[in-house]
Amino acid sequence: MPYESIPQFDTRGVCVSLFRDVKNIEELRSKVGTMPFAVIDASCVCCREQLFSAVYKALIEWKYNRLRTKALHSECILSLSPTSNIGEAFRRFGIKEGTRNIICLAVVGKNETQTSELFDVVDGEEVELSDENLGSMFDLEMIKKVCWPLKVFQ
């Protein structure tokens, strides 16, 4: 399982995988909220920097007990959004009808061992989470629509 770390949060690790052509989107959609990880529509993410800046932001809010959503995982999705509207953030950056590629992301404790089958429920082709792969999947027009009229960090 690919495992990333956010240096400053040394007791935490980030399990994250990119899946192409996921076949059971509907199943996953019905389970959103009960799964121990966040599911993000990969067409909304252009690069690793964008993804991890959101994770970092969510971790900061989490550290000071300032989460605006119920859990750290949902906070990661909210943090991707330029607005603070939670519903809108999920509609844009969560999985939806027509989503094909997804990013699964879980923030776990450093010593958690049962991470290997974390994303087993996903039926799709796992590919490397690289800027190249993300770049080939993301939808520039969509991003423009979401972010352009809005000023970053509002």
Binding site: P7, Q8, Y56, V152
Partner: protein, 265 residues
Amino acid sequence: MSKEVIEQVVTYLTPNVPIVPISQGAEAFVFTTNVHPYNASACKTAGDIPVKYIIKYRPPKKYRHPSIDKTLTKHRTLSESRILAKLSQVPGLHVPKLIACDVYNGCIWIEFIGEDLPESHGFSNLKNFLWMYKTDPYNIAVEKVLFKVGEQIGLLHWNDYCHGDLTTSNLVLHQENGDWSPYLIDFGLGSASTLVEDKGVDLYVLERAIISTHSKFADKYNEWILMGFKSVYENEGKKGQQKLKDVIKRFEEVRLRGRKRSMLG
């Protein structure tokens, strides 16, 4: 306190983020690190030089009331982050890129700008740059840089932002193709503002900063800066001309007020 503050930062960042303190300003401590806060793949070296990041930390100030301190730290960290994010979208304006921020702990990560000046003249801010040329104060290189400084401030003001603390240490020079290009840093007191008053005060503060540290050559220096400043507005047609007139008029008023304000004992 330096030691105490460094300990605070080390605890906050954990040993995973090694830091080097580089300066202690009145408000913030500045460190460099080679570790990106969240994007491990960005830490690779560019050529032989390791990529550097700035961490700016506003420690709690014990002298002021905790509630003032909290509000100020949060407000300034947030406003600095927002301004940096917005200004980086202005074409032609040079500000370092914002990477991350933690408003609750007064911490910002920013792209590193600047380098060491030749012959141990120190870090490449405008202050040291002008000192470096003190034996050749009217060199064309100085004129070029100061003109560009004026242009940067002009761009900033034209886009209705104000810096709030324009000193010669808050202008950092970055070499691009052998030319020095000034970057505006430290927007800790910056604001979005359409007020001519704020712009006038900005210009006055910089003028005074130049006078107080480089007094002998200040007249010429301020003239070059103003030339650069005006050039930005003059490129904006009639509207630019009018706005320029208003800003300069207010600048002169602020300056006059500053001089007249000897007042009572």
